[in-house]
Amino acid sequence: MTADTTTANTAPESVAQRISTLRRLARNPQAVITASTLMVIVVAGLLASVISSHGPSHASLDAINAGIGTDGYPLGADKDGRDILALLLHSINTSVVTALIGTGLALAVGVPAGLIGGYFGSRVRAATEWLFNLIMTFPGLLLLIVLMPVTKGDFRATMALFGVLLAPNVFRIVRNQVLGVKNELYVDAARVSGLPDRRILARHVLFAVRGPVVIASAFLAGTSISVQAGLAFLGVGNSEVPSFGAMIHSGFANLYVAPSQFAIPSLLLGIITASLVLFGNALRDTLEGSPRKPQPIVTPTPRAATGTSERAEGLLVVEDLAISYESPDGKPNEVVRGSGFTVQAGETLGLVGESGSGKTQTAFAVLGVLPPAARVTRGSVRLDGRELLGLPDREMRKIRGRTIAYVPQEPMSNLDPSLTVGAQLATSIRAVEPMPRAEARQRVLPLLGQVGIPDPERVAGSYPHQISGGMAQRVLIAGAVAGRPHVLIADEPTTALDVTVQAEILDLLHDLRKRLNMAVVLVTHNFGMVADFCDRVAVMRQGEVVETGTTTETFDAPRHEYTRMLLDSILDDTTTRSDAPPRADAPPLVDGPQHTDAPIGGKRTS
């Protein structure tokens, strides 16, 4: 209870994350500017009759095409002599009503349907999905226009209809969120805690859904406003209702006479919709974290090696390697600091450590496939005496697959889901040795046989989802050894597999290692696998290699305290539960006849 209680007291940055969303939003200049722009516009609309002396439909023959700044007509008047400022302000109100109706109805229909469709069984889901697919099939704008005889041109009725047509968007967002949340174990836990469905929906599900819905609302409001403007421009609806679309239409007709009549409403409409979109974007950044950054495949070339005086000899030498990531506050966060080991030809090395010890990062650095955010800050990786850090990707490509190969942890996610196993292996074969596709395809079958797959032809023709996890791992091993590498880096190659399959995969690696005379670096957290497989072992803790030695030595007499702690934590093979179950009606038995009397923390007995 020492190591895992410390972090709770040292988490300063998380306090900042708890500050309410509104306050975080207030710190985002884009959100503040767009929100206040919208606010000013809406308030101006509400004060329309105070600001402007004319009514929106008041036409004066004297004012026809009055210019900007004419007395009583600060923005001029249109071709019918109506005050442009008054029209503009009243158009704002029309747009606000439009946005409220369109967005409101989309939410009113989409949110409950999404909650129901996502939370309840597959039949309800299929029914709601079908219904909303039907709505999506309607060509939206066309429907609004052809139903003019029904809506009688009232923009509110039209927008209500449009709201329904927008509902599938909301439905999809909500349903996907709910489906994601529903499978979270905390919802199951709430159910086991005795919470009724409606409380789970309100407390756990709606909570997760509200962010994306708020974001979507900003965009839906923008869409509603521009669609209404488009329809009014076409002349759908009552021409008595002031709207941007109608103003733009009349301004367009009068473009040569008075361009401002066209420009002013266009500008305001543009500002409103753009503000809504930008506000939505700011909202998204605040609620969902910063937008995803692109992921260039090729990592920037790591810094070249820092010269070290004494040079260790070996097939693969890693010396004083350090890797850091930029943390959100801009400071570098070193995840590997001083990792190092040496592997001789044909040797097996276990790289052991707990999660976060940097063992996988070290492996990626050797292969040159660290994610783009990572930086190798110092150290050296040498293969047969040649420095790999600093090599351009083009050169590394010749080494990968041919000299150093890699077997990943999770078999399924490491295969391309949409190509057959055979096609993927053929690609790997051709990458290490250029040859015609047909020839590569022929090489696939013996390769699959080599990794112990009983019917290579069936497997070669299968897609990854059609084969088992153990089979997929064999396929990945086949891909790795296709180029007869000298070093194989296997990163937790059996962790995702069942125990019995795990043993088979380990046997296969044993066998291949001998046949191909490969050196193997086995990255693992499992000391049993190290005992089974490795000649030597390197123990990592918090980015550092704390101990290296032969496997037997390290297991018998660990030098570092951390290694000793890890070895002591292993649940050994002979200690069983020593206390008998207490009986409700009888005093607890001290010793059951079947139990050995060792305490749980007992020593290994070997």
Binding site: V146, Q295, V369
Partner: protein, 313 residues
Amino acid sequence: MISYALRRLAAGLVLALLVSVITFWLLSYSFESVVASLLGSGATDAEVQARMTDMGMDRPVLAQYADWLGAALTGDLGDSYFTNEPVIGALTDRLGVTLSVVVTALLITAVVSVLLGVTAATRGGGADRAAQGISLVGYLVPSLLLAIGLVYVFAIKLKWLPATGFTPLSENPGKWAQSIVIPVAALMIAGIATLTAQVRGAMIDELRKDYVRTLRTRGLSPRRIVLRHVLRNAAGPALTVLSLEFLTMLGGSLVIENVFALPGFGSFAFNASLQGDIPVIMGVMILAVLMVIVVNLAVDLMNGWLNPKARVR
């Protein structure tokens, strides 16, 4: 694969049927006012009722729909109330105009978005900022304003292109191209904005997956990994967005055809609904829905080809 295609097609036809029922049912509420406007403002209530009986509009809506459906299945969508022109012929004439604009816009949108999205996701930096900028402009400016802006600059100020009108492809390919440049541009910018963002996002998600790293450790070049593996897996969601874009463009063509005075499907539909020309309205709806279904089917089939898991279901 064939049974998959047939199942999707059957589902699409059921959908078309439902859309036509709902549209007919909604329209049935306006039959009376349509007849009134057909007869002119001087017609009395009794005259309107008589005319409705004449046209069979006093019968249950379902029966009227059954008549319409029966005729429609034989390829007869009735005659326009106002021009007495057969609806099917009038529609197919105008469809050519609309499709040449919409399909051209859709194809360019697809190509440009994939190029922009892939470059943005794989290169990052300046390419990414440029793609994001284009996306943002497309989102920010309503396409109505964009269309008018383009007409103003290229047709009115620079006089490079005709502002309005349409030349059929068969008549003069050069003039055809000129006549659709601005409409196509106006339609596709919003589409490019949406689809580029989609392609970029899907590519970024896909590039983060484990198999990309594993392929790199096999010595494959980044170009091969992107073209052969990543793009294929990112294409599924992008295709779905493309099919939705088709719907949006079909709607957008209503506005665009009006602005540019193109004699298309959209302006025809618009005039028909102003007048309440029921047979034309029904014809427009059913044709539009059939087009949507065909596009969705094509997208589903492509998805099935790209994604082996989708094929089974």
